[in-house]
Symmetry: none
Subunit: 256 residues, 2 copies
Amino acid sequence: MIVDERRSKILKIAEELGFVSLQRLVSELGASESTVRRDLEFLDSTGHIQRTRGGASFLGDSQVDFDTRRRLASSEKQRIARRTVELISEGETVLLDGGTTTLEVARYLVGKSLQVLTNSLPIAALLMNRPEIELIFIGGYVYPRTGVALGEQSVEALKRLHATRLVMSTGGITADGLFNSNALLVETERQMIRAADRVTLVADSSKFGQRALSHLCPLEVVDEIVTDEGVAEEWWQVLERADIRLDVAGGTGRQG
Amino acid sequence: MIVDERRSKILKIAEELGFVSLQRLVSELGASESTVRRDLEFLDSTGHIQRTRGGASFLGDSQVDFDTRRRLASSEKQRIARRTVELISEGETVLLDGGTTTLEVARYLVGKSLQVLTNSLPIAALLMNRPEIELIFIGGYVYPRTGVALGEQSVEALKRLHATRLVMSTGGITADGLFNSNALLVETERQMIRAADRVTLVADSSKFGQRALSHLCPLEVVDEIVTDEGVAEEWWQVLERADIRLDVAGGTGRQG
DNA sequence: GTCAGAACCATTCATATTCTTTCATAGGTT
DNA sequence: AACCTATGAAAGAATATGAATGGTTCTGAC
């Protein structure tokens, strides 16, 4: 049997049962223990499953697109995304920044009547065919790998747009403000902030205390942060001083 | 068996099954392993399929518009696209219009060092990760289904850009000029024409004599038309009067 | 606690499969 | 003729596989 086909089957079984033992996979697939182990290792590294002693458990929701090998977002990111979408009302004009977390937000936007503005090619491709969403793409130089449009073109386009809310991601958060790793990106994001009434930052707890190459903006600019449960108490005060509402995306069954 | 024909068959089989093994293709097509491998390599580079060890999987990727991937490009369109790309030199700045034929052109652009400007989301998604291509997206209101950015935003963005060549599609060609079915689209295409030194029209022979809702431009604007063999002789004179070079993509599947 | 046995896992190695590269040939074009 | 492209065959490289080995973690009895 071909590698991808077998791995695909493993995912299918794992998704169905939630958890599979190694032995069961061995007998069901007709492959050796070694091979199955190697497959589990691979699928773990791509984030599709979580290896555990004696088998593996399936991660995340069911819409896994295995063929494209797109990395599955962590369950933290999914929870943050879900919570963020709850904050958005029908009819809003939402400006969506690039990034893996905002891509998850876009997934959950499906079904809501909205105007969506974005400079992210993956997000645009995702929302393109949704009749309930009016999509406006902010053009510019398309940065490889991430597929985000940046640069002067994007800044100029943003100057002529207005949104009720910006959903932004970041490379790091400190008391000094937000950071990101790319100067062009920061320039574009600054203009996004100007174009929006309200700034909602999506950031998992690992971003707190992180610093990156370029300073993006002071904390005060942000209206609310949606994050996960792992934010240390010391930050609460810092955020309160900056008048930022901290929204912790609830979640029980944490894996791993 | 003709090259194009065999590759079409591979695509057909791959689409039907989602995944095909190399061995199966070898026996089903009656070609050697080497040949099939070469075909798979080619179809991978054009973004139609994804090679994997032991075979290939069809890319029913969400990146490409649903409608366009429903009916795969006809071999006419593929030939037209291939011929068009032969006209484009390395280092050019190419402005690519939306449409199924121009999407095929984009597939064949892979591997050439170019600047590509486009307002088509499917084209951008295709070229996004190609390091040899500098991609600039022309933003605007994203028209559903086709995934093309249109409207004032796009027109304004185009005003600040310049390209050595526009590769354009059309809804119809008559002695009165070119036509397209959407007023917003026509407006954007007019600005594209202004932004480019040279206008290359890609149109299969069925477009000749067709008229559509909106008049786009007079014939004289076009510098050359790449088409297939089915263009009636009566058109030759018409095109000659408009000083348009007619480039017929050969039917044997041969390049050059 | 700690000891033995069992289950599970990482690593290594030989083998098998698949892939890439190279070369020679056939068939068509200039 | 020279030239180009497509093709198939074959050698060597790369990768996947299954079995074996030895190490680690779990379990239950003492």
